[in-house]
Subunit: 196 residues, 2 copies
DNA sequence: CAACATACGGAACGTTGTTCCGCTTATCAA
DNA sequence: TTGATAAGCGGAACAACGTTCCGTATGTTG
């Protein structure tokens, strides 16, 4: 019979209170650990910082990618919504594309090792692609399309490809030599989009 | 002649025959393993394929980077020498720069995981930077300078930075989505060099 | 309050890189 | 040729990590 008082279908049997509490604690601990030690921080460290066992982490976040996704979810969403906003407010589609890429680069370079994890190809990070990239690629594609329609960029470059390239350029931006400025290189790439 | 007749201290006491044989065997086994499993292939696998113990690998090549350097030494050297040659034979300095970068990209994308290892920042790969990059950066710098002097590219981009960026773009070119073409993205970057 | 399912902790396992040491073997002088 | 010597070898052993598993503890519900 209706499983609970909930009249409609109830696919959400509400988790136990301590479980919800732990999930929040874990998210906070992970966020802190990511800042200090990068997204590659050992699972045990996160567990210790949160005061839980490693099993608890794996129950809530089966893969490290799931944890990363959860931690940065809001910032990614903000980036998604910035796309249309920029397109509406910028002088030209190309300008909004450049501005949006800047935003994305800012996000990436402030998360130690995130870009690297994204391109790592490691199956453990599958959901990082699925959630981060798949969320952002359409926005990028939209901006590219607008700029293409305005004749501002060369054709044939897809959202995925550009995002992937930008991500790659940001890999190793940390600990990287001071001689390397990811932002500038991304700038070069975006400039290259114009050339005919 | 210097080997034996050298009256003074002999800094080269010639290694034992089996040691030299093993080093060669190891190099061959590693090269084969790199092709089939990428440069990240477990040390044990290389040792097994060569029919030696892991200790033997570490004695000959203290770090994985040393082994990689030794395996690809010749190809890197060929790339180094191609620089001046292209500069002499191409129509313009920019053209030779573009051609040389192409050469380098070809080298990188055919070595699974090499680009990634190069940017990894892992201290184990220190000598990869020291030997590969440091060998190639001057050549790249020379080409950049020539193109700069000819007024073909925007100023302020260094050899290290460009090499690093190209390496980054090639990271994850393997296993990467078919939608990503590292060569094309590098092309965009190089095109961006021109823009004013 | 009792019974039950949910969630927890952390020991244990598998896979790496790396070190270390007892044994083997090439080399060379006698 | 042969023995002494040291260079070199193999692989066991250790450490760090991700991941799994299960006995135990605890929230939840009737």
């Amino acid at each position: 019979m209706a499983d609970l008082g909930d009249g409609s279908k109830s696919p959400a049997p509400r988790k136990r209170a301590d479980a919800r509490r732990n999930e929040k604690t874990l998210l906070d601990a992970a966020a802190a650990a990511f800042v200090t030690s990068g997204v590659d921080v050992p699972v045990r460290d996160i567990a210790a910082k949160a005061g839980v066992g490693v099993g608890t982490i794996y129950r809530h976040f089966p893969t490290r990618a799931d944890l990363i996704v959860a931690v940065y979810q809001h910032q990614v969403e903000a980036c998604v919504q910035a796309g249309p906003a920029l397109l509406a407010s910028s002088s030209t589609p190309y300008a909004s594309l450049a501005a949006w890429i800047d935003l994305f680069v800012d996000f990436l370079v402030t998360k130690h090792g995130l870009a690297k994890a994204m391109q790592s190809g490691d199956s453990a990070y599958q959901s990082l692609h699925g959630s981060f990239i798949d969320r952002l690629v359409p926005v990028c594609g939209q901006l590219l399309e607008a700029a293409g329609a305005a004749g501002e960029i060369r054709p044939g470059i897809g959202g995925f490809e550009l995002m992937f390239a930008v991500g790659n350029l940001c890999s190793g931006a940390d600990y990287g030599d001071a001689r390397y400025d990811a932002r500038r290189m991304v700038g070069l790439l975006v400039a290259g989009l114009r050339a005919d």
